[in-house]
């Protein structure tokens, strides 16, 4: 009897011990499940960083040339809004400045997607329950997800530093740069961990955390273009990255801010996790109606599926319009202390050229963002199919094309509504600041709405993939990333025109800087319509899984 020894239960005597049991195994599981997206993110960002350094070095070998480039960047409000201020004119400083504003946001998004997929999405699908029944501590799934996201961010940081070192940059600057690139990933992994506790659905959690990434970017954009509000950049992780000033002053202490913010967020997430039930959010869903006579058509169903998302995006684009209006109206002040440049700008585009240029750049940014909405909305059909929610509807007298039509309405009308919202808000705010509706409204409104055909092309690509190659729908996101990179880096890297032409945004008229030309708009619309038609034709004849 007494010779029988039970294995001691692992440290149950100490409060809190064992809550991380199984984290190591789960980290391996997460790496296995996330291997393809993680490899794509890490290598993709690493390659862009490396090619930026080598191209800048090759294109601008002369210091005087670089100094001129840096001066022209420093006074261009469009650059200030999109990429933030430039601090030096070395190859390292220019390359780091170019990569960081967008790169850090991408690292943040990578962390968000990874953490939510491996926490709330697993919980929603019931996989977390399967794990919770085995020897897995309460915090282990969250800890494993955050560890993998932070690990991937640090890997991107290391690759970035290695790319800079390989380019012949100094060690301190390379480390500062790598740290700044990784930092946003650390912070937003923590933010995503909190979002995963708050929301009951993975979709809502992702939306919350992505809003945080976008807010960080917007705060920085406003702070960098308006000297009175420059303190806003200190509220933004993307702003901190710029304040590190790699290859210039190398403010390594700022890297501590990333760690601190990430740790605080993770701590908040664990406190919330301790006070909620598995599978539920912090806010419990209220019961719904016991019936609904109006919900009787596939279009009404599509409305219920897309409504919440569209409202959320509309709020986001209204905020974007607000930032655009505020930035555009103050941008002309940037030149007040610089009459020489004011002359140059006036020479290029006449009075108001600076704000026009800014409106055009912000319009492109809105277009890319709304392109993301169009893709997500198109791919919603695929997630409905994968969740087995299409079969029961198609088993009623609803044809496939009619079922698609409800969703396609949102793919087409959704982006139009969102761009109109951004355009209206930006236009009205700009008009108020300028003091004239006729002078302030048209340009801002047109800069947003002119993006519509390009966003429809991206939505069309998603629809075509859904109909023709449903297993490859993820490629639609690759199209968005390609368009983003071509727009951001194409000119700087002096890519050939035919490569630039692959992005629909290359063809969008630069309204209000350039005049509105209808040919590209009509052509882009035709291309989008062709993609959508191909998707519909494909879905009409393929198997529904």
């Amino acid at each position: 009897m007494t010779t029988v020894t039970h294995r001691a239960a692992p440290a149950t005597d100490r409060r809190g011990a064992g809550r991380l049991t199984g984290t190591g195994t789960l980290i391996r599981l997460n790496l296995r499940r996330e291997r393809i997206p993680l490899i794509a993110w890490v290598l993709g960002i690493g390659l862009v960083v490396a090619s930026t350094f080598s191209t800048i070095a090759a294109l601008y070998p002369d210091a005087a040339e670089r100094a001129a480039l840096a001066r022209s960047i420093a006074v261009n409000p469009a650059f200030l809004a999109i990429t933030g201020p430039i601090h030096g004119s070395s190859i390292g400083a220019i390359s780091a400045w170019r990569v960081m504003a967008v790169g850090t946001s991408l690292v943040g998004l990578m962390a968000v997607f990874t953490v939510i997929r491996r926490t709330r999405a697993d919980e929603e699908a019931g996989r977390a329950e399967l794990l919770a029944g085995s020897v897995v501590g309460r915090f282990a799934p969250l800890a494993a997800a955050v560890t993998v996201a932070v690990g991937a961010s640090l890997t991107i940081g290391l690759l970035s530093a290695a790319a800079a070192l390989g380019n012949g940059q100094d060690t301190a600057g390379s480390l500062a740069f790598g740290g700044a690139m990784a930092g946003c990933g650390v912070v937003f992994a923590g933010v995503a961990a909190v979002a995963a506790q708050l929301a009951e659905s993975a979709r809502t959690a992702t939306a919350l955390a992505c809003t945080a990434v976008a807010t960080g970017y917007a705060l920085r954009a406003v702070g960098d273009t308006n000297s009175a509000l420059s303190w806003l950049t200190w509220l933004s992780p993307q702003g901190w990255a710029n304040h590190v000033q790699p290859f210039v002053t190398n403010e390594l202490w700022i890297l501590g801010l990333f760690l601190l913010a990430g740790a605080v967020a993770a701590l908040i997430a664990t406190r919330m996790l301790e006070h909620r039930d598995l599978g539920l959010g912090m806010v419990t869903a209220r019961p719904g109606p016991s019936g609904n006579p109006r919900l009787s058509t596939p279009e009404a169903l599509a409305g219920r599926i897309h409504r919440g998302t569209l409202i959320g995006w509309a709020v986001g684009l209204a905020a974007f319009g607000l930032v655009t209006g505020a930035v555009a109206s103050t941008s002309d002040d940037l030149l007040t202390g610089n009459p020489q440049l004011k002359d140059v700008m006036a020479h290029i585009g006449g009075a108001g050229a600076v704000s026009d240029m800014l409106l055009s750049v912000m319009g492109t940014l809105a277009g890319l963002t709304v392109g993301g909405y169009a893709i997500a909305t198109g791919l919603r059909m695929r997630s409905e199919e994968l969740a087995d929610r299409v079969g029961p509807v198609l088993a009623t007298p609803v044809g496939r094309i009619r079922w698609m039509a409800g969703h396609l309405g949102f793919v087409v009308v959704g982006p139009a509504l969102l761009l109109t919202t951004a355009g209206l808000v930006a236009g009205v705010l700009n008009s108020i600041e300028v003091g004239s509706l006729s002078a302030g409204f048209g340009g801002a409104f047109a800069a947003m709405l002119v993006q519509l055909p390009a966003t429809l092309v991206l939505g069309g690509i998603a629809v075509a993939l859904f109909g023709l190659a449903p297993r490859l729908t993820g490629l639609a996101w690759a199209a968005l990333v390609a368009a983003l990179l071509l727009g951001q880096l194409g000119q700087l890297l002096q890519l050939p025109q035919w490569v630039m032409d692959l992005s629909p945004y290359t063809h969008v008229p630069q309204v209000p800087v350039a005049a509105l030309s209808w040919t590209p708009i009509v052509l882009l619309t035709v291309v989008a319509a062709a993609f959508i038609a191909a998707g519909v034709a494909g879905f009409a004849r393929r198997d529904v899984s």
């Binding site: 659905s201 019961p287 019936g291 088993a395 198997d543």
Partner: protein, 328 residues
């Protein structure tokens, strides 16, 4: 008109890459009957149903539902049928009641009082949101939506998975009531008692093809009756008689399985030995099932080879080909 079957599939082939999910499937469901569609997991039941619903396009063969082509006439056809999937997935932000209304209205209308009555009978809370339902309750939502619609044909793909026995009984009552109203039901299942309780005829599917079709009585005809008896004296050579299988003799007790054809002879022999107690049980669908999939069990169970009373055991996998032809 009444001769036209409600469902007819002939020579249907469906491949997914290298996998042949349906391999020349023939299925015929008569109008007004409850037809059991029986087979183990992965046999091709759901694939066949999705072909019938026009959601999968067959590589070969024809599928006719209510006289119309399952693929090209899908939309018009779906006005006349209702479908319950085996794994119901609900829209997370719609309440159960909203989902019932939606699915029934898409089908062309809903009988309000019947809907409310069904919700009550199935003890379903229609106000919960989709993501809050358990598997059984999700299943109930789809069942209520299907039963509340006025249709000629019900296609039910393992509809009771996740239901508790009480709710299973309610479901059986409802299906019987549908049958009384003259509706045709195709009920796929691997729960044998459910098929036994509800179905007029049964088709057994295995690796993508129907291996047996018939009424329960016809199928029982193919199987053995299990007899256990206590006799005054044990007649000699009972175990070796033709049609007797798996005989186990202990003192005065005997247990054996008898082919239907040999039943009369064997009973006479038993009576001659002086019967003290006797139980005879009809074959269950379980046994019927085991004969079709028995080879798998035989291969995985080393104890099945050898042992007393097994010398004359017929290969359990041997399909009764002659009877299959006779049933057509």
């Amino acid at each position: 008109m009444t001769e036209q079957p409600a469902i007819r599939m002939s020579g249907v082939v469906k491949t997914f890459g290298p996998v042949r999910a349906l391999d020349g499937l023939d299925l015929s469901v008569r109008a007004g009957e409850v037809h059991g569609f029986l087979g183990p997991n992965g046999a091709g039941k759901s694939t066949a149903i999705r072909v019938l619903l026009g959601q999968l396009r067959a590589d070969a063969g024809t599928s006719t539902v209510l006289g119309a082509d399952a693929w090209s006439d899908a939309v018009a056809l779906h006005r006349r049928l209702a479908y319950v999937p085996g794994d119901v997935s609900l829209w997370p932000n719609l309440s159960g009641g909203e989902t019932i209304d939606l699915l029934a209205r898409l089908r062309g209308g809903i009988d309000r009082s019947r809907r409310d009555e069904l919700i009550e009978r199935f003890e379903l809370d229609p106000r919960k949101k989709g993501r809050a339902y358990s598997k059984g309750n999700r299943q109930k939502v789809a069942i209520v939506a299907a039963l509340a619609s006025d249709v000629e044909l019900l296609i039910l793909d393992e509809p009771t998975s996740g239901l508790d026995p009480l709710m299973e009984a309610v479901f059986q009552e409802c299906v019987n009531a549908e049958k009384q109203r003259g509706r045709t039901v195709l009920l796929s299942s691997h729960i044998l008692s459910e098929v036994e309780a509800l179905c007029d005829r049964v088709s057994i599917i295995r690796t993508g093809a129907v291996v047996e079709t018939g009424t329960l009585a016809e199928l029982r005809h193919l199987t053995r009756t299990a007899i256990s008896a206590e006799l005054a004296t044990m007649p000699a050579g009972l175990a070796g008689r033709p049609g007797v299988h798996d005989a186990v003799i202990e003192d005065h007790r005997i247990k054996l399985d008898v082919d239907a054809a040999a039943l009369d002879d064997v009973l006479k022999a038993l009576v001659a030995g002086g019967v003290r107690t006797l139980t005879a049980s009809p074959p269950t669908l379980e046994e019927l099932f085991l004969r079709h999939y028995g080879d798998r069990l035989g291969q995985t169970d080393p104890l099945a080879a050898g042992g007393p009373g097994q010398a004359d055991r017929r290969q359990p996998s041997e399909p009764p080909r002659q009877s299959r032809a006779a049933l057509r």
